[in-house]
Symmetry: C2
Subunit: 450 residues, 2 copies
Amino acid sequence: MDKIQPSILPGFMELLPEEQVLFDRIKNLISTTYQKYGYWPIDTPQIEKDEILFAKGGGETTKQIYHIAKGEGDSNQSLRFDLTVPLARYVAQHASELAFPFRRSHIGKVYRGERNQKGRYREFYQADIDVIGMNTLSVLNDAEVPAVIYEIFEKIGVPGVHLHINHRGLLNGFFASIGVEEPEEALHAIDKLDKIGSEKVRTLLAEAGLRANQIDQVLAFIGVDDPTPAMERVEQIAQTMGDGPGAVLFRAGWEDLQAVYRAMIGFGIPEEAIVLDLKITRGLDYYTGMVYETFIDGYESIGSVASGGRYEDLASNFSKLKMPGVGMSIGLTRLFYQLRAADLIRPEKGTFLEALVIPMGSDEVPVAIETLRQLRTCGIVAQMDAEPGKMKKKFSYADQLGVRFALIIGEAERNAGTVGVKDMKSGEQSPLPLAEAISLMAGVLGKDWK
Amino acid sequence: MDKIQPSILPGFMELLPEEQVLFDRIKNLISTTYQKYGYWPIDTPQIEKDEILFAKGGGETTKQIYHIAKGEGDSNQSLRFDLTVPLARYVAQHASELAFPFRRSHIGKVYRGERNQKGRYREFYQADIDVIGMNTLSVLNDAEVPAVIYEIFEKIGVPGVHLHINHRGLLNGFFASIGVEEPEEALHAIDKLDKIGSEKVRTLLAEAGLRANQIDQVLAFIGVDDPTPAMERVEQIAQTMGDGPGAVLFRAGWEDLQAVYRAMIGFGIPEEAIVLDLKITRGLDYYTGMVYETFIDGYESIGSVASGGRYEDLASNFSKLKMPGVGMSIGLTRLFYQLRAADLIRPEKGTFLEALVIPMGSDEVPVAIETLRQLRTCGIVAQMDAEPGKMKKKFSYADQLGVRFALIIGEAERNAGTVGVKDMKSGEQSPLPLAEAISLMAGVLGKDWK
């Protein structure tokens, strides 16, 4: 029979077991941290009705969508492209059954038919937290959300993580104060500063209709080539600004941002890890208050590894209820790819399977099974090698599996009531009663099993 | 603006947060048990090439498939309908990078456009374990796999779980020994015994071409109306059977099954939880040795809650390598639905969020944040209520959230360096220094935080 070439579609991530264990370790770490902070886990269908997914209208996303064609053709259902639309649908649909503010976490796969390129995936995990209020939502939530994200990166062990924060009200107020009433295009321009440089931003701002003196004011505000800390610069501007409607908006945003900044520190983020970054804006049709991006020192080219912000009305397409919220999202699949590529994380042998039990013959199988049971009871992850084969093959299997210990049970050991404990790292082997063997292994493996 | 009715597609499961926490508890329990036994977790794309999914040819599944239509129409890719085809593709594709026997676990969503009915889902989790050998695979694996499954049901706390086991070689040998050389139709018939009764099975067996005396022998073999334990009955048959090729097959299967049975007990399954059930056959074009189903006493109508068996050549469509294997699968979504419907599991208030911290005014916010931090450090899952509102509203929120404790911080508490600890169950409230409050709460909540 002709064989079909086993392969997966381009743009999908599939990991070998050791890499998968590492990926899952990070995924679990995110999940347990979200839950430690009291964000309820939810899990929604990966397929949603098109009318839900496109309630906001089409745009770029529709081109990237994975439509479902069931039986007779188009069925008006598609794979979700993010976890935010499903969240909006969820809180609108179940509003009467939820307690607000509603704090939820969601880790799941989403789908986008992006152009195929390195580090971009068409199926990827997002790991989101959001707090959704009913009518109001305290800005303290805007401080806690990035604190959760920061704790996660700390636990993963990534050094030099900085949270870049900004405030849409502050930006809008500033632009209004210098006479730019429709700042969308200008905001898009400044968001690109790091990518294209200040000269090109000048050109874009001019194209957006800003006069030369306005452009100067914008670049001075952002702090291009200005060593003054942004917090000081904004404080000076707030004090010298007049009393127009722009100034009111600016000062309200500034107050909001300062309260969030103080509370972020209260929640445990080191002061030096928070950067007021006046050029970040995020999605313009969505965020209305705080916005966040997360960068790793020396790896800024990766881009933001966790982003989000405050929005005023999450479910306006689905409900008359006004539900403001704040949230952040980690693009887990891309993050994993980037952290691996930068060698900031790596799989370690022996972190999954720890021991291989090798009965030499069928007479030793009952002892081997009992040995396995006791190892597992003591929290040592173990399996048996019951296949036919020579010792060399069995030790090579133990090596491939990355176990630290091989436990050999032959006739001599069975008669003596011992197991032959081989430390695969040192190569040392000694016969020990099982209880002593477990005690030794537990010590080396760092198990707290008593 | 007109609102779009928020809803999900029929046949999809979506849970409220409390139910989700219960679902996740069971999902995590399965995952950690699989891993405790050394089954490496894998995670494959949910979309596969059609040539992979349908390598075996079409059949019933093709009608139920969720095709992907990207952009210009049919794109020859679909959502997976099980985790076994992806496993076959995975081991064939990565054979040179895996250590065999390869033990893998996989918990993921699969898609089948089934007829819409209660308790049947179109998107559902499967939770699989399999051991894949290269050329050979010891039958000890056939004993360990059901032991893992049994431990999971024990941990979930479902009483009266029985593993029904059988052996395809035993069945084929028996049918050959009574002169039925092509037993497929007859096997299909006996598999239906519990559903349709023995009279209808007689009719089906006659339709399958069996003579009256053969039908009698089949029903006697299965043990319809026979109180003799199946193990004894088969042993008697094995001894009295002649020496034809059917008998050889029968005795080989019987030996195999007995070895598995003994090892299952060795691996910790209570003898009384194992039932030799000679009528179960499972998928005929797939399993070749042991087959398993799992039933709950008093809830037999649910059907098997975990099934599987031994197969001789997993990846024959994708590879020239011969890879025998054995595995079992839990249909988690359906299982959850059934266990909930039977009230065998239920969500308990307070098992997720444990404490709500309530600052009375903005002056108390810094103390509230510090309180939250300390609670979280001690493993108490807590959140703050920082919204405006009266105490009544806040206590009602605490009730909705199901927390056991509300911690009130007003001016008096702030000045005295205490928190007002309210036990939401007893209604008692007393001011305590934070350290004492945590000690009290940890005791009540059963935390081991020292």
